[in-house]
Subunit: 344 residues, 4 copies
């Protein structure tokens, strides 16, 4: 049947930059690929890249790296639930032995739980090598489930995912307990550069960040989020590098913090939940492999190092986009004007 | 410079279905296109489509349609801020006259505000015809700003966007005040069909929805959200139809509600924030135009009707994906098994 | 049976201040009563009162005033739900005629709704004179329900309260749509006064507010909230004036905003959800009546004016407490030291 | 000065019940004291107590017990912040030695952190014996701060509380990481008892809980909360037992879960954040001591056991109030009718 044929959606892609990154074991300058229908984004990120490079580059710090899956079980009552949870928390090595059967790379590194009534939400946290790990953690959970039910026969299966994971949902748990790569990027921009290239001042940037990103998102009823448009850069980067781009939902929950330091602008983007990998689904495609290679994420390295390197480039890209858009919004009329110019 | 050349990211795309929709002025059966690296999604949505079609089709209701932009102003104090806001609220026709200069299609249909200290977050709500309206509302806001500052000279520009809009962010405001198309889709699935095709029962589906989608998301600290994976279907549909797919962030905040009715399963997906259009950025591409045409969204209709029709197909697609994945998760092992089979 | 006898819980109460307030139709200086087991609060609020008085007083602005109750109905499907909601929104005068039968003071001033699947959450918003209005709105809803079911026979009763009200719960809806009195209080404190009396500087206060109240609450997964301890002042004031103090839950969701203006400190407390009244439950008690009288809230005034005046004193009290505690926290060791001293 | 004299706010108090509790090392029946201006609460809780006693009593399970304080520090950049945090996490015994100097009872049992840009939110978790622990953890943090700054000289003091604690604020962190006593209470109510005493059915109760508490709170933009009026019972119990009642803010964030089991109603109240103690501020007052003694919380026990016992009675009280109010709301008109009757 003709309609079932696999074709492709061809999303416009461009390499922008170069972005200069230092720290987190790397010092490099690279063009980053962004696939998007919103092509003014290229210009915006490009401007941020140029400015941050002139400022000496973006300092990146990788804070954490883990992937989670929460299984959902049921006990006869909360007392039995508590006993089981306490039991499981004391048996991590045994759990890890089961996990090892499911994958060479998956390793259980943490266990969190919520007990609601007689329900158990068990959040299993794994390191997953260079894969983003969606399937790896599901596979591991799938192996663990029968083992758990066997060891704790009073428990019952409810779901392989209890939404306490939390995949592709805006929640607080991912930021608090960790899911994906947690990266902070920072740059110090001299006042002069701010004025010449961003047409703004450090003080104006700080003011806008407080009033728009912090207070504005707060009154909107935002959740663990204070930024202008993380989602745009994440989408472009994720599509270009073969990621499961639906993870921009949690990825977009991050915080821009800016300060005037002396005469200069300290500008940072904190991204607690970057779900991405350098291997796995979506990675076999030629343009994806090419992009990963250009980003230096297909090298022989320790498992996970390529994916973490990728996360750092992604986070640096987000910083560039935030820097540029916020600067534009400090000036009346600039945003629309530049959109109109670029879209012509 | 070679690196700057525009290429494309080729995301695998397939038409799945047919999905049958009734209500909201249409009764039709169509294949829907989904572009995604997570190809098991095709199978999942396809199964949901078949089951819902056998059940008589999906009933769709369009509840609301609007697009917003919040501008951010500053007054000397809260008293002056309040006077200005009250003044503006009484002058909608005048504001609309200014808006009319910016676009043939934009029409101001609502005004909301938040006053924090001496800051004004003014949320302008528009109808935007067949466009999703991002640029249209920014353009309109850009025209309104000088007019407002002229009429209320004690106010000062802070930002063209104050994040109370809220674009591509997980917030509560969009669901409460409305942003994008608000669609409810419903289907009634006989118990027998549930058992044969979904390998589950109405009671199991209801139980899973309460324990996973409602309570599970709640303990995760979720915000106005109770579903299994809206984001996956939205991403696939948005990429295939040339949408600004970063809007899956707010789009993914929606609610699955299920009930046992008699012997049958009542299953519904509520999607309050579908930001999409049938014209605008991303729409010139051949495959996009082709997909929009197949979905019947390039017809001669009243402005907005094509876009609303598109939103309904999108929402129906989401229902199909939820139905199928939730059914799979009621059974131990089924999810992983089917992933492994499909990815081979 | 002895155990059933009504006794009293005697909560320590003290009048602190005087607090000076200007704006919102009043200019006055008053002692405010605070009943609390956490007696260091008296000192803290007292210090804030003295400083703000020396600074010329607190400017108060009343932004809004309404009380809500959301009823919960069910339709056969979303289409019927939408028709009913649209119908009701067009019939406000008729609804108000029914409301008038339930109370002399209740007046329906707004109607909001959420449709989820086939469920209708209908949020009725009232002005309620000088009462906080809990019972008044329930009574009005109780009258409206049979009328609605009679007019829309396809609807069914689910609950007199659907939690979309939202009473005594931390939600986003109250701040966005309004519930209770919405008050902004502001003060401009000269740098010199800041240093002498608060042992801090405007810059330090601004920095702490951003890093603690805004970013700190954000990472905690807070909801529409950025303050240090609104709840403490609200509890003390509510208990002393006979309020339903469980409403401190939503009352505590508010925003402190501070800026350096020239050399001075601009400091403000925004309180969108003060649920309180000068008549009603808890008001017959001698000490309550006495406190209300001292606060000038038992005068002959237009209905609602006494309650709004009370809200302003309450908000000013909150500002004083925030000002003082934040100042203390800018200095290492000061908080604990002063607690230890006061508790001795 | 007359106005400064300490008087008391006399809040009406009554002992209601008896409530029967089993599990968590106790089996007992007691009257519980509730101090409130909303006196219909006594009737509501009393009815719940009678029904749950007839059903065999309330099963209580204590899941967790800890108190937290988050301090806020600043590093020159995120890299230095990460090093310090990793260092501190490896030195818990040393930290505990410092803590031991501040109190006989405080013991550091956990450490969590958030790094935002160059800021460190360090959440210190303690066991605090029979005290709720507000002052104990502040005191401990006060001792730790100079030690930390001495060991990590590149860090700088920002605040003794960074709002990641989170005290008296509606956030997600307390439920996810734990703060206060975490108690689950459960009861199984035969259908017949449901019908006779609560004038409702198990099915109706389950339906209302899903539609009102779960979905209703969700559409309101609620945060980790699904209940009808936890705050009411908490306030009454806290005032009667000398607690810092402003902690009802986070205490009110809890979940009611109900199911039809066979013919019966399984009804549970999960309360993750009960901040209370049997010693400390507010406890010296005669009526408080009397109430604590009647509740069996002034016995010679292991440190913390009296406070945990108190938490269980508090949680059981909350269940009674929820059970009764939800039952009333399943019936049109019943709520208002009973209020009117009781207030006469």
């Amino acid at each position: 049947m003709k309609a079932h044929k696999i074709t492709t959606a061809s999303v416009p892609m461009r390499h922008v930059g170069p972005i200069k990154v230092i720290g987190a074991d790397l010092e490099d300058e690279l063009m980053v690929p962004l696939a998007t229908y919103e092509t003014p984004l290229w210009h915006s990120v490009g401007r941020g890249a140029r400015v941050s490079k002139l400022a000496g580059g973006i300092r990146a710090t990788l804070i954490d790296d883990r992937m989670s899956r929460s299984i959902l079980l049921e006990a006869p009552d909360a007392g039995v639930a508590l006993q089981a949870v306490n039991g499981l928390k004391a048996r991590l090595p045994e759990l890890n032995a089961v996990v090892a059967e499911s994958s060479r790379f998956a390793r259980l590194i943490g266990l969190n739980s919520q007990i609601v009534a007689n329900l158990i939400y068990l959040r299993l946290e794994f390191s997953t090598g260079d894969a983003s790990g969606h399937n790896m953690v599901t596979h591991a959970a799938d192996r663990l489930f029968p083992w758990i039910l066997n060891q704790y026969p009073r428990l019952r299966y409810v779901s392989i995912s209890g939404n306490y994971c939390s995949d592709k949902k805006a929640t607080a748990v991912n930021g608090i307990l960790g899911r994906g790569k947690y990266v902070v990027t920072e740059v110090l921009i001299p006042r002069d550069l701010c004025e010449r290239r961003l047409k703004t001042t450090p003080a104006k940037m700080v003011e806008l960040n407080v009033k728009k990103n912090l207070i504005g998102t707060l009154v909107a009823g935002g959740l663990r989020s204070a930024n202008a448009h993380y989602a745009n850069m994440l989408l472009g980067f994720y599509l270009a590098t073969g990621q499961d781009a639906a993870n921009i939902v949690e990825g977009s929950q991050g915080i821009v913090h800016a300060e005037v330091r002396g005469d200069d602008l300290y500008f940072s983007a904190t991204l607690p939940n970057l779900i991405l990998g350098s291997v796995g689904n979506g990675k076999g495609l030629d343009f994806v492999e090419d992009n990963l290679r250009r980003l230096g994420c297909k090298e022989e390295r320790e498992p996970g190092d390529n994916a973490r390197r990728l996360a750092i480039w992604c986070a640096a890209t987000v910083l560039c986009g935030e820097l540029s858009l916020l600067a534009a919004q400090t000036n009346p009329g600039e945003l629309m004007e530049s959109h109109l110019k670029l879209e012509r």
